[in-house]
């Protein structure tokens, strides 16, 4: 049975004996659960069906190598940790994917290999070796704060639907949204002007905006070298961006209140001052509902 909080590690090896050995190595860690599979296709099915923290694969797989598997796996789960655990010499490894598939390498067969594999998997996941975006310094505490402001449990969505509608009208823009940034995705808890549910964190401008002190304005997103290769933003018609941090009283930025337009545009100082006020209102609403939620377990904070 999988314990909550354990790392789920998919072990891919077409050789049954080797697969079993790798699985045993992973299962020997108290904080890891191994899912043995014999092919890349089976690994992808596993990744698509649930939360997987790390992929540990042999080099030669049926129909392709681990590199193609890593590339395809990250198309579905962008920040996935990928470890090549192999009998093959590093100089003999064939590559059937691009030159930008960053992965770890660990040879099998040394007395230390089992310990090193467990340590490596743990470090890859905990230290976020393979995420394709910048991560705030307070990330662990920030994610804890995001969980506290889970709006699905807080019945806040209707309030934010009204607010984003008013904001879009106020600025005469295409889209206004409130987005919370969790471990892997940005979740749009209210979005006026578009039907967006979630966006992979590595594709989201807000991922970069939460690193800034307060407001982020990008007048022409496609002119910003951080996003010029981002096809997702192009497809969503995100041409200009203005965002205000949603920062908790404890100082953790859980998300953004954003103004999106389908053509480049700028904002006056007064408009940005209003954006700050709107964002303050969102934070107040989130905080109020979080505290009301606490009442099921006890008195309001500060009572």
């Amino acid at each position: 049975m999988t314990d909550a909080g354990d790392l789920t590690v998919v072990c891919v090896d077409p050789d049954a004996t080797e697969r079993s050995a790798t699985t045993t190595v992973i299962e020997a860690a108290a904080d890891m659960d191994a899912v043995p599979v014999e092919s890349g296709e089976a690994a992808l099915t596993q990744i698509e069906s649930g939360d997987v923290d790390c992929l540990v694969a042999e080099h030669d797989l049926p129909n392709h190598t681990c590199f193609e598997l890593f590339e395809r796996a990250r198309a579905h789960e962008p920040g996935l940790g990928c470890v090549l655990y192999t009998d093959a010499s590093i100089t003999d490894l064939g590559r059937d994917a691009g030159s930008e598939v960053v992965a770890e390498y660990l040879p099998k067969g040394t007395p230390e290999s089992p310990d090193r594999l467990r340590n490596l998997v743990r470090n890859v996941v905990v230290n976020r070796f393979h995420v394709g975006y910048p991560v705030p310094a307070d990330e662990d505490a920030r994610l804890e704060a995001v969980r506290e402001y889970d709006v699905r449990a807080l019945s806040t969505v209707e309030t934010f639907d009204r607010l984003t509608r008013l904001i879009a009208s106020h600025y005469d823009i295409a889209v206004a949204f409130v987005g919370l940034i969790d471990e892997r995705d940005e979740e749009f808890i209210a979005c006026h002007g578009a039907d967006w549910g979630t966006l992979a964190r590595e594709d989201s401008v807000c991922t970069y905006a939460i690193l800034e002190d307060d407001l982020t304005v990008i007048e022409h997103v496609q002119d910003d070298p951080r996003f010029e290769a981002n096809e997702t933003l192009r497809e969503l018609d995100v041409r200009s961006y203005a965002g205000a941090n949603l920062t908790t009283p404890e100082g953790h930025t859980v998300g953004q209140l954003c103004l999106i337009h389908d053509e480049p545009r700028s904002y006056t100082d007064d408009e940005l001052a209003d954006l700050r006020l709107f964002a303050d209102e969102v934070v107040e609403q989130l905080e109020l509902r979080r505290r009301l939620g606490d009442r099921t377990d006890g008195p309001l904070v500060g009572e």
Binding site: S99, V102, F129, A137, D224, P225
Partner: protein
């Protein structure tokens, strides 16, 4: 985060206080005029492991640069990944050719291999250098793999109580890109030319001075 029991990494002869194990620094300065020398001096150690990922200097040039910085190159505890276009592997000197600065896959894998080899040889403290990110960036279309690559380097440094340094010429980068590329690092060392010499200062590293101090690169 580094364990407090492990000694700090020091930088003898440099105007820079020792740093905690697990620290990675971004060194920003002009490509010509002190940055290379500063990186090599930050990697200088008599006993610790040293791994250099070099996109600018071939293996032989990197060894010469180490020696100018006062480092006797010792292949038993030092290794070089030569990611220049015409690099050549030299197993005797622990130099491994990658073939191109564009090959983040190869650099990441061989870096992991060298790190594991050092660990297997009983080398517990490792200094990692990347010289330079400036050269790698034009080869990649998308910045996401660059973050994965940097997180891999700094993550290794963090989890193994190592020390890391990565060089970047800020004049070659958009300010917004520079700002976000700083994030994987614990702090930034800025280098500037001042008169006939250089000055450095530390930004973002708590407990460290942030005033400009004179730095004389080795010649």
């Amino acid at each position: 985060m580094g364990q407090t029991a492990s000694p700090r990494y020091d930088f003898e002869g440099l105007p820079l206080d020792p740093v905690e194990p697990g620290t990675s620094l971004l060194v920003t300065g002009p490509s010509i005029g002190g940055t290379r020398e500063l990186c090599m001096e930050l990697l200088r150690s008599e006993r610790e492991g040293v791994l250099l990922l070099s996109a600018d200097l071939g293996g032989g040039e990197a060894i010469e640069a180490f020696e100018r910085a006062g480092v006797q190159f010792d292949p038993s505890r030092m290794g070089i990944l030569d990611a220049t276009q015409h690099g050549e592997t030299d197993a005797d000197r622990n130099v491994c050719a990658i073939g191109t600065p564009a090959d983040l896959t190869g650099m990441g894998m061989h870096y992991a291999r060298l790190y594991e080899e050092l660990h297997g040889a009983g080398v517990e403290r490792v200094r990692t250098g990347l010289y330079t990110l400036t050269t790698i960036l034009p080869y990649v279309d998308d910045i996401k793999p660059v973050y994965r690559f940097l997180h891999t380097l700094t993550g290794r440094v963090t989890s193994a109580d190592g020390f890391g340094v990565c060089a970047l010429d800020p004049r070659t980068q958009d300010e917004r890109v520079l700002g976000s590329l700083t994030q994987p690092f614990d702090g930034r060392v800025e280098l500037r030319r001042e008169g006939d010499g250089c000055e450095i200062r530390v930004r973002g590293l708590s407990g460290h001075h942030d005033d400009w101090r004179g730095y004389e690169p080795p010649t």
